[in-house]
Amino acid sequence: MAATDLVRAVLNAWCSLQRQLIGRHGTGSRTAQVAGLLGGALAGGAAAAPNLPEDRADLMFHLYDADGLRASGPALLVRKKLADTVSLSASYYIDMVSNASIDVVTTASPYKETRKEYNLGLDYVVRDSSITVSTSNSKEPDYIANGTSIDVSQEVFGGMTSLSLGYTRAHDKVGRNGYEGFFDTATHWRYRLGVTQILSPSWLTSANFEAVSDDGYLGSPYRVARVFGAAIPERNPRTRSSRAIKLRSLGEVVPGHAVRVEYRYFWDTWDIKAHTAELGYVRQFSDLWLLDWYARYYKQQHALFYSDNASSETTYISRNRQLSTFKSTALGAKMAYTAKHVPGVYEIKLNAAYEFIRTRYSDFTDIRNGKPYELDAHVLQLFVSATF
Protein backbone atom coordinates (compact mmCIF):
# COMPACT_ATOMS: atom_id res chain seq x y z
CA MET A 1 0.00 0.00 0.00
CA ALA A 2 3.00 2.25 0.29
CA ALA A 3 2.94 2.91 -3.44
CA THR A 4 -0.77 3.81 -3.33
CA ASP A 5 -0.15 6.24 -0.49
CA LEU A 6 2.70 7.79 -2.40
CA VAL A 7 0.54 8.28 -5.51
CA ARG A 8 -2.25 9.77 -3.40
CA ALA A 9 0.20 12.14 -1.73
CA VAL A 10 1.66 13.24 -5.05
CA LEU A 11 -1.74 13.80 -6.61
CA ASN A 12 -2.99 15.71 -3.58
CA ALA A 13 0.12 17.87 -3.62
CA TRP A 14 -0.30 18.52 -7.36
CA CYS A 15 -3.95 19.51 -6.96
CA SER A 16 -3.14 21.65 -3.96
CA LEU A 17 -0.38 23.37 -5.95
CA GLN A 18 -2.81 24.02 -8.80
CA ARG A 19 -5.35 25.55 -6.42
CA GLN A 20 -2.72 27.78 -4.86
CA LEU A 21 -1.40 28.88 -8.23
CA ILE A 22 -4.87 29.57 -9.59
CA GLY A 23 -5.58 31.53 -6.43
CA ARG A 24 -2.63 33.76 -7.34
CA HIS A 25 -4.13 34.46 -10.78
CA GLY A 26 -4.83 38.02 -9.75
CA THR A 27 -1.09 38.59 -9.72
CA GLY A 28 -0.91 37.58 -13.37
CA SER A 29 0.92 34.29 -12.84
CA ARG A 30 1.33 32.56 -16.23
CA THR A 31 2.61 29.46 -14.47
CA ALA A 32 -0.72 29.14 -12.72
CA GLN A 33 -2.57 29.24 -15.97
CA VAL A 34 -0.39 26.61 -17.58
CA ALA A 35 -0.47 24.38 -14.50
CA GLY A 36 -4.25 24.39 -14.50
CA LEU A 37 -4.56 23.16 -18.06
CA LEU A 38 -4.43 19.43 -17.60
CA GLY A 39 -6.70 19.01 -14.63
CA GLY A 40 -8.73 22.04 -15.57
CA ALA A 41 -9.64 20.87 -19.03
CA LEU A 42 -10.80 17.58 -17.59
CA ALA A 43 -12.61 19.12 -14.68
CA GLY A 44 -14.71 21.21 -17.05
CA GLY A 45 -17.27 23.84 -16.27
CA ALA A 46 -20.20 25.65 -17.79
CA ALA A 47 -19.31 26.01 -21.45
CA ALA A 48 -20.03 29.03 -23.62
CA ALA A 49 -21.73 28.25 -26.94
CA PRO A 50 -19.47 28.62 -29.97
CA ASN A 51 -20.45 31.18 -32.57
CA LEU A 52 -21.24 30.54 -36.19
CA PRO A 53 -18.87 32.22 -38.65
CA GLU A 54 -19.97 35.67 -39.78
CA ASP A 55 -21.86 36.12 -43.03
CA ARG A 56 -19.27 37.25 -45.54
CA ALA A 57 -18.31 37.45 -49.19
CA ASP A 58 -14.77 37.51 -50.58
CA LEU A 59 -13.61 38.18 -54.11
CA MET A 60 -9.90 37.55 -54.64
CA PHE A 61 -7.29 37.67 -57.37
CA HIS A 62 -4.31 35.45 -56.68
CA LEU A 63 -0.96 35.06 -58.38
CA TYR A 64 2.05 32.77 -58.01
CA ASP A 65 5.02 33.61 -60.19
CA ALA A 66 8.37 31.83 -60.19
CA ASP A 67 10.92 31.04 -62.88
CA GLY A 68 8.60 30.29 -65.78
CA LEU A 69 5.62 29.07 -63.78
CA ARG A 70 2.70 31.43 -63.38
CA ALA A 71 -0.57 30.41 -61.72
CA SER A 72 -3.22 33.06 -61.30
CA GLY A 73 -6.93 33.55 -61.29
CA PRO A 74 -9.99 34.66 -59.38
CA ALA A 75 -11.53 33.07 -56.30
CA LEU A 76 -14.88 33.70 -54.68
CA LEU A 77 -16.34 32.79 -51.31
CA VAL A 78 -19.86 33.40 -50.02
CA ARG A 79 -21.02 32.43 -46.55
CA LYS A 80 -24.55 32.93 -45.21
CA LYS A 81 -26.39 31.92 -42.06
CA LEU A 82 -29.66 30.13 -42.66
CA ALA A 83 -30.86 30.18 -39.08
CA ASP A 84 -29.30 30.69 -35.66
CA THR A 85 -27.53 27.36 -35.87
CA VAL A 86 -26.68 26.78 -39.53
CA SER A 87 -24.31 28.54 -41.91
CA LEU A 88 -23.73 27.58 -45.54
CA SER A 89 -20.63 28.39 -47.54
CA ALA A 90 -19.62 28.05 -51.16
CA SER A 91 -16.34 28.89 -52.82
CA TYR A 92 -15.02 28.78 -56.36
CA TYR A 93 -11.36 28.95 -57.26
CA ILE A 94 -9.64 29.09 -60.63
CA ASP A 95 -5.93 28.47 -61.28
CA MET A 96 -4.81 29.44 -64.76
CA VAL A 97 -1.41 27.82 -65.11
CA SER A 98 1.22 28.76 -67.63
CA ASN A 99 4.06 26.34 -67.07
CA ALA A 100 7.55 26.76 -68.42
CA SER A 101 9.25 25.76 -65.17
CA ILE A 102 12.63 24.00 -65.03
CA ASP A 103 10.93 20.57 -64.93
CA VAL A 104 9.05 21.36 -68.11
CA VAL A 105 11.70 23.15 -70.17
CA THR A 106 14.33 20.50 -69.51
CA THR A 107 12.16 17.48 -70.27
CA ALA A 108 8.99 18.53 -72.13
CA SER A 109 7.20 21.46 -73.80
CA PRO A 110 5.71 24.46 -72.00
CA TYR A 111 1.94 24.23 -71.60
CA LYS A 112 -1.10 26.12 -70.36
CA GLU A 113 -4.04 24.65 -68.49
CA THR A 114 -6.79 25.67 -66.11
CA ARG A 115 -7.75 24.09 -62.80
CA LYS A 116 -11.18 24.81 -61.33
CA GLU A 117 -12.11 23.98 -57.78
CA TYR A 118 -15.31 24.42 -55.84
CA ASN A 119 -16.11 23.83 -52.19
CA LEU A 120 -19.48 23.57 -50.46
CA GLY A 121 -19.73 23.62 -46.70
CA LEU A 122 -22.26 23.51 -43.91
CA ASP A 123 -21.57 24.66 -40.36
CA TYR A 124 -23.91 23.58 -37.59
CA VAL A 125 -23.74 24.71 -33.98
CA VAL A 126 -25.39 22.64 -31.30
CA ARG A 127 -24.94 23.38 -27.57
CA ASP A 128 -21.16 23.84 -27.11
CA SER A 129 -20.15 21.99 -30.28
CA SER A 130 -19.78 23.01 -33.86
CA ILE A 131 -19.82 20.62 -36.79
CA THR A 132 -18.60 21.42 -40.28
CA VAL A 133 -19.24 19.19 -43.26
CA SER A 134 -17.71 20.14 -46.59
CA THR A 135 -17.09 18.74 -50.02
CA SER A 136 -14.67 19.82 -52.72
CA ASN A 137 -14.09 19.11 -56.37
CA SER A 138 -10.97 20.08 -58.30
CA LYS A 139 -10.78 19.54 -62.03
CA GLU A 140 -7.92 19.80 -64.52
CA PRO A 141 -7.83 18.29 -68.01
CA ASP A 142 -5.74 15.36 -66.72
CA TYR A 143 -6.60 15.23 -63.00
CA ILE A 144 -9.83 15.18 -60.99
CA ALA A 145 -9.86 15.31 -57.19
CA ASN A 146 -12.94 14.92 -55.00
CA GLY A 147 -12.89 15.26 -51.23
CA THR A 148 -15.27 15.20 -48.31
CA SER A 149 -14.46 16.48 -44.83
CA ILE A 150 -16.06 16.52 -41.44
CA ASP A 151 -14.70 18.62 -38.58
CA VAL A 152 -16.10 18.73 -35.07
CA SER A 153 -15.04 21.11 -32.35
CA GLN A 154 -16.14 21.09 -28.75
CA GLU A 155 -15.65 23.81 -26.18
CA VAL A 156 -14.84 22.65 -22.69
CA PHE A 157 -13.62 24.17 -19.47
CA GLY A 158 -15.94 27.16 -19.56
CA GLY A 159 -15.14 27.84 -23.20
CA MET A 160 -11.44 28.31 -22.48
CA THR A 161 -10.42 25.11 -24.22
CA SER A 162 -11.52 24.07 -27.66
CA LEU A 163 -10.97 20.50 -28.83
CA SER A 164 -11.27 19.62 -32.50
CA LEU A 165 -11.37 16.46 -34.56
CA GLY A 166 -11.42 16.25 -38.33
CA TYR A 167 -11.46 13.68 -41.09
CA THR A 168 -11.10 14.02 -44.85
CA ARG A 169 -11.35 11.39 -47.53
CA ALA A 170 -10.29 12.34 -51.02
CA HIS A 171 -10.25 10.34 -54.21
CA ASP A 172 -8.33 11.37 -57.34
CA LYS A 173 -8.46 10.24 -60.94
CA VAL A 174 -5.15 10.55 -62.73
CA GLY A 175 -4.87 11.01 -66.47
CA ARG A 176 -2.33 12.07 -69.03
CA ASN A 177 -2.49 14.34 -72.04
CA GLY A 178 -2.95 12.27 -75.14
CA TYR A 179 -4.37 9.36 -73.14
CA GLU A 180 -8.09 8.68 -73.40
CA GLY A 181 -9.76 8.82 -69.97
CA PHE A 182 -7.87 8.16 -66.71
CA PHE A 183 -5.22 5.51 -66.25
CA ASP A 184 -5.01 5.35 -62.44
CA THR A 185 -6.45 6.59 -59.13
CA ALA A 186 -5.27 7.71 -55.68
CA THR A 187 -7.08 7.83 -52.36
CA HIS A 188 -6.11 10.04 -49.42
CA TRP A 189 -7.23 9.89 -45.80
CA ARG A 190 -6.52 12.74 -43.40
CA TYR A 191 -7.11 12.66 -39.65
CA ARG A 192 -6.83 15.87 -37.62
CA LEU A 193 -6.74 16.53 -33.91
CA GLY A 194 -6.37 19.91 -32.29
CA VAL A 195 -6.61 21.78 -29.04
CA THR A 196 -6.76 25.54 -28.61
CA GLN A 197 -6.34 27.02 -25.16
CA ILE A 198 -7.06 30.53 -23.94
CA LEU A 199 -4.22 31.35 -21.56
CA SER A 200 -5.13 34.89 -20.60
CA PRO A 201 -7.52 37.64 -21.80
CA SER A 202 -5.03 38.39 -24.61
CA TRP A 203 -3.05 35.22 -25.17
CA LEU A 204 -3.97 31.89 -26.73
CA THR A 205 -2.08 28.84 -27.89
CA SER A 206 -2.85 25.72 -29.90
CA ALA A 207 -1.49 22.31 -30.79
CA ASN A 208 -2.50 20.46 -33.95
CA PHE A 209 -1.74 16.97 -35.15
CA GLU A 210 -2.52 15.49 -38.54
CA ALA A 211 -1.96 12.04 -39.97
CA VAL A 212 -2.28 11.54 -43.73
CA SER A 213 -2.34 8.24 -45.60
CA ASP A 214 -2.22 7.86 -49.37
CA ASP A 215 -2.80 4.88 -51.56
CA GLY A 216 -2.56 4.75 -55.35
CA TYR A 217 -0.67 6.65 -58.03
CA LEU A 218 1.42 9.24 -56.17
CA GLY A 219 3.68 10.59 -58.90
CA SER A 220 3.41 12.43 -62.16
CA PRO A 221 3.23 10.70 -65.55
CA TYR A 222 5.21 13.58 -67.09
CA ARG A 223 8.13 13.67 -64.68
CA VAL A 224 11.36 11.81 -65.33
CA ALA A 225 14.14 10.56 -63.09
CA ARG A 226 17.81 10.36 -64.08
CA VAL A 227 19.86 7.18 -63.90
CA PHE A 228 23.46 7.42 -65.14
CA GLY A 229 22.42 10.70 -66.77
CA ALA A 230 19.63 9.06 -68.78
CA ALA A 231 15.99 10.08 -68.36
CA ILE A 232 13.59 7.33 -67.28
CA PRO A 233 9.96 7.59 -66.06
CA GLU A 234 9.85 8.14 -62.27
CA ARG A 235 8.67 5.26 -60.10
CA ASN A 236 7.10 6.18 -56.76
CA PRO A 237 5.80 3.85 -54.05
CA ARG A 238 2.02 3.50 -54.14
CA THR A 239 1.56 4.14 -50.43
CA ARG A 240 2.65 6.92 -48.14
CA SER A 241 1.83 7.80 -44.56
CA SER A 242 2.79 11.02 -42.83
CA ARG A 243 2.45 12.75 -39.47
CA ALA A 244 2.72 16.41 -38.60
CA ILE A 245 2.50 18.24 -35.32
CA LYS A 246 2.24 21.98 -35.04
CA LEU A 247 2.42 24.25 -32.03
CA ARG A 248 1.53 27.92 -32.19
CA SER A 249 0.91 30.78 -29.85
CA LEU A 250 -0.53 34.24 -30.37
CA GLY A 251 -0.66 37.08 -27.89
CA GLU A 252 -1.21 40.80 -27.67
CA VAL A 253 2.00 42.09 -26.15
CA VAL A 254 0.96 45.74 -26.07
CA PRO A 255 -2.57 46.96 -26.93
CA GLY A 256 -2.81 46.91 -30.73
CA HIS A 257 0.38 44.84 -31.20
CA ALA A 258 0.29 41.04 -31.41
CA VAL A 259 3.06 38.49 -31.86
CA ARG A 260 2.64 35.00 -33.32
CA VAL A 261 5.07 32.06 -33.08
CA GLU A 262 4.60 28.74 -34.87
CA TYR A 263 6.56 25.53 -35.26
CA ARG A 264 5.71 22.35 -37.16
CA TYR A 265 7.55 19.06 -37.34
CA PHE A 266 6.74 16.65 -40.15
CA TRP A 267 7.83 13.08 -40.86
CA ASP A 268 6.66 10.32 -43.19
CA THR A 269 7.25 6.78 -44.38
CA TRP A 270 9.30 8.02 -47.35
CA ASP A 271 11.89 9.12 -44.79
CA ILE A 272 11.21 12.81 -45.33
CA LYS A 273 11.58 15.01 -42.26
CA ALA A 274 10.74 18.69 -42.29
CA HIS A 275 10.79 21.62 -39.92
CA THR A 276 8.71 24.77 -40.38
CA ALA A 277 9.06 27.85 -38.17
CA GLU A 278 7.13 31.07 -38.49
CA LEU A 279 7.24 34.34 -36.63
CA GLY A 280 4.61 37.02 -37.16
CA TYR A 281 3.80 40.49 -35.93
CA VAL A 282 0.39 42.10 -36.37
CA ARG A 283 -0.40 45.71 -35.72
CA GLN A 284 -3.71 47.53 -35.70
CA PHE A 285 -3.35 51.18 -36.78
CA SER A 286 -6.40 53.19 -35.72
CA ASP A 287 -9.66 51.38 -36.56
CA LEU A 288 -8.97 51.36 -40.27
CA TRP A 289 -5.63 49.65 -40.91
CA LEU A 290 -4.31 46.24 -40.00
CA LEU A 291 -0.78 45.26 -40.97
CA ASP A 292 0.74 41.82 -40.62
CA TRP A 293 4.41 40.98 -41.22
CA TYR A 294 5.84 37.50 -41.01
CA ALA A 295 8.92 35.44 -41.70
CA ARG A 296 8.79 31.72 -42.45
CA TYR A 297 11.60 29.19 -42.58
CA TYR A 298 11.16 25.72 -44.03
CA LYS A 299 13.68 22.91 -44.28
CA GLN A 300 13.33 19.30 -45.42
CA GLN A 301 15.49 16.25 -46.06
CA HIS A 302 14.96 14.21 -49.20
CA ALA A 303 12.92 11.07 -49.67
CA LEU A 304 14.68 7.73 -49.48
CA PHE A 305 14.26 7.07 -53.20
CA TYR A 306 15.06 10.60 -54.39
CA SER A 307 18.15 11.01 -56.49
CA ASP A 308 19.48 13.85 -58.59
CA ASN A 309 21.24 11.37 -60.84
CA ALA A 310 21.13 7.78 -59.60
CA SER A 311 24.13 5.52 -60.03
CA SER A 312 22.09 2.31 -59.73
CA GLU A 313 18.67 1.07 -60.79
CA THR A 314 16.31 0.79 -57.82
CA THR A 315 12.68 -0.26 -57.46
CA TYR A 316 11.63 3.30 -56.75
CA ILE A 317 13.32 6.33 -58.24
CA SER A 318 12.30 9.97 -58.39
CA ARG A 319 13.78 13.33 -59.30
CA ASN A 320 10.78 15.29 -58.08
CA ARG A 321 12.34 18.38 -56.45
CA GLN A 322 9.40 18.49 -54.03
CA LEU A 323 10.99 15.37 -52.51
CA SER A 324 14.57 16.70 -52.56
CA THR A 325 16.61 18.34 -49.80
CA PHE A 326 16.01 22.09 -49.70
CA LYS A 327 15.65 25.15 -47.53
CA SER A 328 13.11 27.85 -48.10
CA THR A 329 12.83 31.31 -46.55
CA ALA A 330 9.79 33.51 -46.96
CA LEU A 331 9.01 37.07 -46.00
CA GLY A 332 5.45 38.28 -46.22
CA ALA A 333 3.15 41.16 -45.44
CA LYS A 334 -0.61 41.48 -45.35
CA MET A 335 -2.64 44.64 -45.22
CA ALA A 336 -6.32 45.18 -44.55
CA TYR A 337 -8.04 48.55 -44.89
CA THR A 338 -11.59 49.07 -43.68
CA ALA A 339 -13.14 51.06 -46.52
CA LYS A 340 -16.68 51.19 -45.18
CA HIS A 341 -18.08 50.33 -41.78
CA VAL A 342 -21.72 50.64 -40.83
CA PRO A 343 -21.94 49.31 -37.26
CA GLY A 344 -24.20 46.28 -36.95
CA VAL A 345 -25.01 46.32 -40.68
CA TYR A 346 -21.97 45.64 -42.84
CA GLU A 347 -18.24 46.22 -43.26
CA ILE A 348 -16.10 46.25 -46.40
CA LYS A 349 -12.36 45.65 -46.31
CA LEU A 350 -9.73 45.97 -49.02
CA ASN A 351 -6.91 43.47 -48.59
CA ALA A 352 -3.51 42.90 -50.13
CA ALA A 353 -0.93 40.25 -49.30
CA TYR A 354 2.51 39.63 -50.75
CA GLU A 355 5.04 36.90 -50.01
CA PHE A 356 8.55 36.44 -51.35
CA ILE A 357 9.91 32.90 -51.18
CA ARG A 358 13.56 32.02 -51.77
CA THR A 359 14.29 28.30 -52.14
CA ARG A 360 17.74 26.74 -52.31
CA TYR A 361 17.94 23.11 -53.41
CA SER A 362 20.85 21.04 -52.14
CA ASP A 363 20.57 18.01 -54.41
CA PHE A 364 18.57 19.15 -57.42
CA THR A 365 20.88 20.29 -60.21
CA ASP A 366 19.85 22.81 -62.81
CA ILE A 367 21.02 20.74 -65.77
CA ARG A 368 21.17 23.90 -67.92
CA ASN A 369 24.17 25.19 -65.96
CA GLY A 370 25.21 22.30 -63.68
CA LYS A 371 24.65 24.29 -60.47
CA PRO A 372 22.26 23.52 -57.58
CA TYR A 373 18.86 24.94 -58.52
CA GLU A 374 17.68 28.18 -56.90
CA LEU A 375 14.16 29.49 -57.09
CA ASP A 376 12.68 32.87 -56.17
CA ALA A 377 8.89 33.04 -56.07
CA HIS A 378 6.36 35.84 -55.66
CA VAL A 379 2.88 35.24 -54.25
CA LEU A 380 0.26 37.97 -54.44
CA GLN A 381 -3.31 38.16 -53.20
CA LEU A 382 -5.65 41.10 -53.75
CA PHE A 383 -9.15 40.78 -52.37
CA VAL A 384 -12.24 42.57 -51.21
CA SER A 385 -14.09 41.09 -48.24
CA ALA A 386 -17.48 42.10 -46.94
CA THR A 387 -19.07 40.98 -43.68
CA PHE A 388 -22.79 41.61 -43.23
Binding site: G166, E210, R248, Q322
Partner: protein, 80 residues
Protein backbone atom coordinates in the same frame (compact mmCIF):
# COMPACT_ATOMS: atom_id res chain seq x y z
CA UNK B 1 1.21 -12.97 -7.95
CA UNK B 2 0.21 -11.67 -11.37
CA UNK B 3 -3.34 -11.17 -10.13
CA UNK B 4 -2.06 -9.18 -7.16
CA UNK B 5 0.05 -6.93 -9.37
CA UNK B 6 -2.90 -6.34 -11.75
CA UNK B 7 -5.20 -5.49 -8.85
CA UNK B 8 -2.66 -3.03 -7.46
CA UNK B 9 -2.21 -1.41 -10.90
CA UNK B 10 -5.97 -1.12 -11.29
CA UNK B 11 -6.39 0.44 -7.86
CA UNK B 12 -3.62 2.93 -8.65
CA UNK B 13 -5.26 3.86 -11.94
CA UNK B 14 -8.66 4.26 -10.28
CA UNK B 15 -7.19 6.38 -7.51
CA UNK B 16 -5.39 8.58 -10.05
CA UNK B 17 -8.58 9.00 -12.07
CA UNK B 18 -10.71 9.84 -9.06
CA UNK B 19 -8.13 12.33 -7.83
CA UNK B 20 -8.00 13.98 -11.24
CA UNK B 21 -11.73 14.42 -11.52
CA UNK B 22 -12.73 14.93 -7.91
CA UNK B 23 -9.69 16.43 -6.20
CA UNK B 24 -9.14 19.06 -8.90
CA UNK B 25 -12.74 19.85 -9.74
CA UNK B 26 -12.47 23.09 -7.80
CA UNK B 27 -10.33 24.63 -10.58
CA UNK B 28 -12.41 27.23 -12.32
CA UNK B 29 -11.85 28.76 -15.75
CA UNK B 30 -9.64 31.73 -14.90
CA UNK B 31 -10.52 33.85 -17.94
CA UNK B 32 -14.21 34.64 -17.57
CA UNK B 33 -16.40 35.12 -20.66
CA UNK B 34 -16.60 38.87 -19.98
CA UNK B 35 -12.77 39.03 -20.02
CA UNK B 36 -12.52 37.60 -23.55
CA UNK B 37 -13.41 40.73 -25.48
CA UNK B 38 -9.86 41.24 -26.78
CA UNK B 39 -9.68 37.65 -28.00
CA UNK B 40 -12.23 38.54 -30.67
CA UNK B 41 -10.02 41.30 -32.07
CA UNK B 42 -8.73 40.72 -35.61
CA UNK B 43 -5.11 40.80 -34.41
CA UNK B 44 -5.79 37.85 -32.11
CA UNK B 45 -7.12 35.48 -34.79
CA UNK B 46 -4.96 32.61 -36.04
CA UNK B 47 -6.92 32.83 -39.30
CA UNK B 48 -8.74 35.97 -40.45
CA UNK B 49 -9.41 35.20 -44.10
CA UNK B 50 -10.24 31.60 -44.93
CA UNK B 51 -10.09 31.96 -48.72
CA UNK B 52 -6.68 33.65 -48.68
CA UNK B 53 -5.36 31.05 -46.21
CA UNK B 54 -6.48 28.20 -48.45
CA UNK B 55 -4.63 29.71 -51.40
CA UNK B 56 -1.47 30.15 -49.33
CA UNK B 57 -1.76 26.58 -48.07
CA UNK B 58 -2.19 25.29 -51.63
CA UNK B 59 0.92 27.18 -52.80
CA UNK B 60 2.95 25.54 -50.04
CA UNK B 61 1.51 22.05 -50.24
CA UNK B 62 2.24 21.56 -53.93
CA UNK B 63 5.89 22.66 -53.52
CA UNK B 64 6.90 21.20 -50.17
CA UNK B 65 6.81 17.57 -49.06
CA UNK B 66 5.43 18.48 -45.62
CA UNK B 67 1.68 18.69 -45.24
CA UNK B 68 -0.99 18.81 -42.58
CA UNK B 69 -1.54 20.16 -39.06
CA UNK B 70 -1.85 23.67 -40.41
CA UNK B 71 -5.08 24.39 -38.59
CA UNK B 72 -6.76 25.25 -41.91
CA UNK B 73 -10.03 23.39 -41.78
CA UNK B 74 -10.61 20.72 -44.40
CA UNK B 75 -6.91 20.40 -45.13
CA UNK B 76 -5.41 20.85 -48.55
CA UNK B 77 -7.05 19.69 -51.74
CA UNK B 78 -5.97 16.47 -53.41
CA UNK B 79 -4.98 18.17 -56.64
CA UNK B 80 -1.55 17.82 -58.21
Amino acid sequence: MLHSVSARALSLALLAGVSLFAGCSSIEPWVKPYERERLSLPILQFSRDGLADKHQEHVREVREAARGATGVQGGGCGCN
